[in-house]
Amino acid sequence: MTKYIIQRLLAALPVLFGILFVTFALARLLPGDPCVAMLGEKANEVTCAAFNARYGLDEPIVNQFVIYMGDVLTGDLGTSFRYGQPVTRMVSERLAVTIELAFSAMIFAVSVGMTLGIISARRHNSATDVFTMIGANFGVSIPVFVLGLFLAYVFAILLKDTPFALPPSGRLSAGMAVTSFTDKFNLTEGDPLYRVAQFFTNLYFVNAIINLDGELFVDSAKHMILPAIALGTIPMAIIARMTRSSLLEVLGQDYTRTARAKGLGERTVLLRHALRNAMLPVITIIGLSLGFLLSGAVLTETIFGFSGMGRALYDGITSSDYAVIQGFTLVVAGIFLLINLVVDILYGFLDPRIRLS
């Protein structure tokens, strides 16, 4: 198993290198001069020359790439032009937001998607099944930004002043206090644990649980519901369809009939015998969906005003912030590769017939 994991990690290196190269090239192919984007049109030539020198943009492009490669290998993702901050710091601040969002969306997608899939399969060809699948098809087709704005409008405006009202953007209500772990443990910038503390401070759910802060938990949950639904709807729909078809296939198998013949209750047949075997393709879809969640997060975060990885990437692209584009893409790609690996390993547990090596 260890050998397999190492092999997979090594195989990921060329992919990461490719991503490095492509994002490096694409960032520079974007229209717009970073200096003008950062300093405005009235920045004169001298200012721009100093700007370019500061960020090494006056070097030949090949040198820039070589320097960048070297930096990345030493764990330095460069410095954002726009914020003047190390990209690693921005990642540590923002990764938590995206993880929390993706995780919430996934919980929604899996729980609702599988439930719907099971119900549909159980009531095959009934009205429930038809409506559920129409709903699923609709969910797959609706773009994140349309759904996001629609949800925000319904819950923030139409349901305003009702118990169902939900905030249309942001992660917390204005003025809501958050306990900072960096302050709590007296960590200063430069402390090796500083970034970690920062990361956990920004994971509001975890933060609320650790600090037993019920108000924070509820407030942050309220803010998370709409983005999680907006982001999770497409994977939810895919999972529902996949669960249904996979389950139907399994329910037609001999061993299901045997189980029924043994006199097992329908519930046991479904959940203990059929579902486990039907899960394999579903797990694949869940894994792939996580990739979608990461990319969908760009739009969701922008619409809901979350300052996560996706939003940072979006801002980086609109302002030609090369280091941010490169660094964030690389981190997202790395996470994606990691997720795929985890999914592959999960196969082994679900179906012992699959030998990983």
């Binding site: 050998k3 190492i6 092999q7 090594l10 290196l13 001069d33 003008v36 950062m38 300093l39 405005g40 049109e41 009235k42 920045a43 004169n44 030539e45 001298v46 200012t47 020359a49 100093a50 700007f51 500061r54 070297g70 290998l73 030493t74 726009r82 914020y83 003047g84 601040e93 923002r94 937001v97 704005l149 925000a152 409008y153 923030a156 405006i157 305003k160 009202a165 905030p167 249309p168 953007s169 942001g170 992660r171 917390l172 209500s173 204005a174 003025g175 958050v178 920004n202 922008t302 619409i303 809901f304 005003g305 979350f306 300052s307 996560g308 801002d315």
Partner: protein, 809 residues
């Protein structure tokens, strides 16, 4: 199996690469050529000052320890002696400085080439290697106070009757060919200059009596004389042309800079410096001689900017001396980029760091918490000198989506939003719970013409085109509500606008008739030209493409066939400035500061670009006259004339002033939209304890000297204050930290009288030093606190013409 081997090999390669890169790290340019040298050897000469290694002393727990880079190939400053030790004047001096300054210093011998790069990359904290303090180097490193005065020194034979440079006229002075000494002696003395290939040859010749004196780099001469007593030469204790050597320090290491400067001052005061000097140069340190005749007083305006000096006249008075008259100085000084910082806080933060994240100002609100990515929380300043803030807490939030901002406002989660989408203006106006506040544009969009190209050289033709464009149609169709049709180049909200002035009436028939009379059309009744523009969205031109097409269509109605030429933004601006754009071009201008000079002088003044071709003398004369006056009441009539002249000459056709808006809950009192985008939250009250404001984006930093985006500037505006301010919701300059201000006759001296008893949020009291330092750190590129977030200080450079001590290309 084979694959497994390959994998193993690959793994080893990757690990090796990681290790190599990690070790290589930053040190690509200057690896130390030898191991770190020891501390200066104890002096042997009895005259020498005590220079034991400070390391010998028991080090306090937190003693600062610094590595000092040097290139030990420059006698007598630093060189490797016969024992392989790095010794020299610099080494001894640093030893003494370290001891006096209470830190440890360790020298690293490295190559000269790349030594400053290595310093900047942090390979060592300082460089002491007979390095001349130059503006160029100051761009990348900080320098200590000068520790050595170098320059041209005059060597003579012992007992010579030459006592100074005044005595060499008519004498033979030896120099090394092509050196500073050669040039200086030739230009500044009446001596016969004898040139040698090597300075040692000149010294030999001097000793032999072939020449009467030698002018050369003083330390080099001193070393030769000291090492060769048989020559029987002495150096006169005077220096001509001065170069100062300093210890270069990594810009991030303010504590090192402070420690070295403190140590150096102590060493100089104790006389130790003189002793070390004597040891290595065989003489007392030379006196600085009156400036060389050729150099004269250094021109404080030579750097090219408009600020000459900033002086604290007394505790509550600051004077700005300018190189050129500037009637708009108050309008500039009111800008949030020039807020006054507490001098103590500026120093404590080193000009960056917390200054950016946790600003300390004098404003109505104080920083409470900035949760990056989420919200910025401000709380009312209980000790504010002015009217207390209406709402105890202000929260800044942001969303780049106009639809989202509006949703938040409609949901009642926020009290006010910036820039509602133009399509939503009607929705807001129809909603009884919300109020829309149009924000008049401080910009202008125009259709430019260059009179260097026929037939645009004909004023009547330009006037005819002015009648041919239906500006109302353009503004109605392509501009958001809040925008207005321009009647002149100046926007109405900015000083210099002429009330009642109107543009040419739209009259295409008349236009066509004039163009026919002036012979513009060819035999087919057609005039072919072009419309150039760049496809860049701006507040003054929200839809460039369709506006270009509309203008093209309008021109076609009078028989003008205009080809649309889309250009890359930078190329387009350059071509406009160079006067290379034929036909029409679409461009605009947004105010840097609210004064006519920023609009009219920049475009039509004597030093304007070639954008509209040759200048109009009557116009330039009036603008010049107006720019030399301070009193708005006297200036306004002149600008009225200027605006009339622009209408007459038609260098361009003003089309629109693009507007935008803010929207607030209807319950909010004092809500407004400011033309300059600096809405004052302190005057707004919506009934609750918290006012939530939602803007387009998160502030980038809150040290606004080094920010340019409106989102940061607006946040700064709540916390900090400048000498002057703009009236709430307007552009008129009003008192702020300065109660009164006045200019001298020719507008080159502006004096500001500070408000007494103003305190910063940290409790310190505002005085003239805070003002001088706040401005100086921006102005002086070599100032140790000229740091900021990026160090660009773009607005200062743009509004005041550049930085003192900046590296010039």
């Amino acid at each position: 199996m084979r694959q497994a081997k390959l994998m193993t090999l690959l793994a080893i390669l990757v690990i090796a690469a990681l290790v190599v890169t990690a070790c290589g790290g930053a040190g690509t340019s200057a690896q130390p050529t030898t191991a770190p040298v020891q501390e200066p050897a104890p002096a042997e000469e009895p005259a020498a000052a005590p220079t034991e290694a400070p390391a010998a002393e028991p080090a306090p727990a937190e003693m600062l320890s610094i590595k000092v880079g040097t290139n030990a190939e420059y006698r007598p400053f630093e060189f490797v002696d016969e024992n392989g030790q790095v010794v020299g004047f610099d080494i001894d001096l640093m030893g003494a400085i370290a001891k006096a300054g209470g830190f440890e210093a360790e020298f690293v011998n490295t190559r000269w080439d790349g030594i400053f790069v290595a310093l900047a990359q942090g390979e060592f904290e300082a460089v002491m290697s007979a390095a001349t303090i130059t503006d160029e180097r100051k761009q990348t490193v900080d320098f200590s106070d000068p520790y050595f005065l170098s320059g041209q020194g005059l060597s003579v034979k012992e007992g010579s009757d030459i006592a100074g440079i005044a005595d060499v006229d008519g004498k033979r002075v030896g120099v090394q060919l092509g050196t500073t000494g050669d040039i200086w002696a030739s230009e500044n003395t009446g001596a016969e200059v004898v040139r040698y290939d090597e300075i040692t040859l000149a010294m030999q010749a001097l000793s032999n009596g072939d020449i009467d004196a030698v002018l050369n780099d003083a330390p080099v001469s001193a070393d030769i004389i000291l090492a060769n007593p048989e020559l029987g030469l002495v150096m006169l204790p005077e220096i001509y042309t001065s170069e100062e050597y300093g210890v270069a320090i990594n810009k991030a290491k303010h504590e090192v800079l402070a420690a070295i400067n403190a140590g150096l001052a102590a060493v100089k005061a104790s006389g130790e410096y003189d002793a070390i000097y004597e040891k290595w140069f065989g003489m007392a340190p030379p006196a600085v001689v009156a400036e060389a005749p050729a150099e004269g007083e250094e021109d404080p305006c030579a750097y090219g900017g408009i600020i000459k000096d900033i002086v604290a006249v007394d505790d509550l008075t600051v004077r700005f001396d300018l190189c050129v008259p500037d009637p708009a100085f108050p309008a500039k000084a009111a800008f949030s980029a020039f807020q006054i910082q507490s001098a103590e806080y500026l120093e404590a933060t080193g000009g960056g760091g917390d200054l950016i994240e946790k600003p300390v100002g004098t404003g109505p609100y104080m920083m409470k918490e900035w949760r990056r990515g989420d919200q910025l929380i401000l709380e009312a300043n209980p000790n504010y000198w002015g009217e207390a803030a209406k709402t105890p807490t202000v929260v800044f939030r942001w969303s780049s989506e106009a639809a989202q901002r509006l949703l938040e406002l409609q949901a009642g989660n926020v009290s006010g939003i910036d820039n509602p989408g133009p399509d939503d203006f009607d929705v807001i106006e129809a909603d009884a719970n919300l109020t829309l506040y149009p924000r008049p544009g401080t910009n202008v969009f125009y259709l430019g013409m260059n009179n260097a190209f026929a037939p645009f050289d004909n004023e009547k033709v330009r006037q005819a085109f002015a009648m041919a464009i239906d500006r109302n149609r353009i503004v109605d169709n392509f501009y958001p509500a809040g925008s207005i049709v321009a009647t002149q180049f100046m926007p109405p909200v900015i000083f210099g606008y002429t009330e009642g002035l109107d543009w040419y009436e739209y009259n295409p028939e008349m236009a066509q008739q004039i163009l026919t009379e002036e012979g513009v059309y060819d035999e087919n009744g057609v005039f072919k030209t072009q419309i150039s523009y760049r496809d860049v969205v701006r507040g003054y031109l929200p839809e460039p493409g369709v506006v270009a097409q509309d203008i093209q269509a309008q021109l076609a109605e009078i028989g003008v066939e205009a080809e649309i030429v889309v250009m890359e933004s930078g190329t387009f601006l350059d071509a406009a400035d160079d006067g290379a754009l034929e036909g029409f071009h679409l461009l605009g201008w947004g105010a840097d500061y609210p004064d006519a000079t920023n609009f009219l002088d920049y475009h039509f003044g004597a030093s304007a670009s070639q954008q509209f071709g040759s200048k109009f003398d009557d116009l330039t004369a009036i603008l010049q006259q107006a720019a030399a006056l301070a009193d708005p009441a006297v200036r306004q009539p002149l600008y009225d004339q200027a605006n009339e002249l622009i209408k007459q000459h038609v260098p361009m056709i003003p089309v629109a002033h693009g507007g935008s808006a803010t929207a607030f809950l209807a319950a909010c009192e004092g809500a407004h939209a400011s033309p300059l985008g600096n809405e004052a939250m302190s005057v707004i009250g919506c009934g609750g304890d918290t006012l939530v404001w939602m803007q387009n984006a998160e502030p980038i930093g809150l040290y606004c000297a080094d920010e340019t985006d409106g989102e940061s500037l607006r946040a700064c505006e709540q916390v900090g204050e400048a000498l002057l301010a703009f009236e709430v919701g307007g552009t008129d300059v009003i008192p702020s930290l300065a109660e009164t201000w006045e200019a001298n006759e020719d507008l080159t001296e502006w004096t500001f009288n500070l408000r007494p008893g103003v305190t910063f949020h940290d409790g310190s009291t505002l005085d003239a030093n805070d003002v001088v330092l706040s401005w100086t750190v921006q102005w002086d590129a070599s100032h140790p606190l000229h740091v900021g977030r990026s160090g660009d200080f773009t607005y200062f450079s743009a509004l005041f013409g550049g930085f003192k001590n900046a590296h010039t290309e």
